[in-house]
Symmetry: C2
């Protein structure tokens, strides 16, 4: 899943005056490549931001450049997850929080739609069974 | 897209005391079939609720039975669209509003993920071009 090994990561020794380490720009180059892989091969991928040394200045640059697109979603599972489409369709910023609101994972995913928004086939099968069971029960009550 | 013709629609003459016409139950049966089609053939589909005579009691039954799942999304295009996963993964309730907040369309979609949440391939191609253009510009400025 993670593309870390392909990003030329710079060790944050002396961020330029912008407070940036250069790693944000490296990530943006990687995202451009990942978009091409998605278009050409239909392959999605993700970058785990917590696996890369990023300064506040790096984060700021990423937020400024990627900005926000039309889609914003929340998933309430064990702690909320926030999914934001960026200003670049196909590039999604996904942040997982624990119940205390601490960031547990911060990922930029490239794909037509993030995996976390997709229903799992097993869950869909279970939906069908549950809905049929409800309808049988309702029919029995009404007869 | 719409499955209207396959639902045995009852003309709302005399809703039972529950205020229901029976059309909500017909929709639930149709959704169960659509879930099976999704599992067996990978085919998604949708029911346009505004194309079916539904009483307030019908709507109430649908909301009560389908309830809400983990995913909630908004899309800010020309007027907001609200996407709610129901308590049955694979069944999504999608409501389109105009800028005044009036309901323009109310659809229940069966699929692994609603089409409206998916980035269109053309938009993804455009994303790649825009991101590369930004990076070239940024590189030119920094050199």
């Amino acid at each position: 899943m993670s593309k870390l090994d392909e990003i030329g990561i710079k060790i944050v020794s002396e961020p330029q005056e912008t407070g940036q380490s250069g790693n944000a720009v490296a990530i943006l180059y990687e995202l451009a490549e990942m978009l091409d892989e998605l278009i050409e091969k239909g392959e999605s991928g993700a970058i785990d931001l917590q696996g890369i040394p990023l300064t506040p200045g790096d984060y700021e640059l990423l937020r400024e450049v990627l900005a926000e697109g039309e889609v914003h979603a929340t998933i309430d599972a064990i702690g909320p997850t926030e999914v934001r489409e960026t200003m670049f369709p196909g590039v999604w910023w996904i942040t997982h929080y624990n119940v205390e609101g601490d960031i547990m994972a911060d990922v930029i995913e490239v794909g037509f739609v993030p995996e976390i928004l997709q229903s799992h086939p097993d869950d869909v099968s279970e939906s069908s069974e549950r809905l049929k069971a409800y309808l049988q029960e309702a029919a029995a009550i009404n007869n």
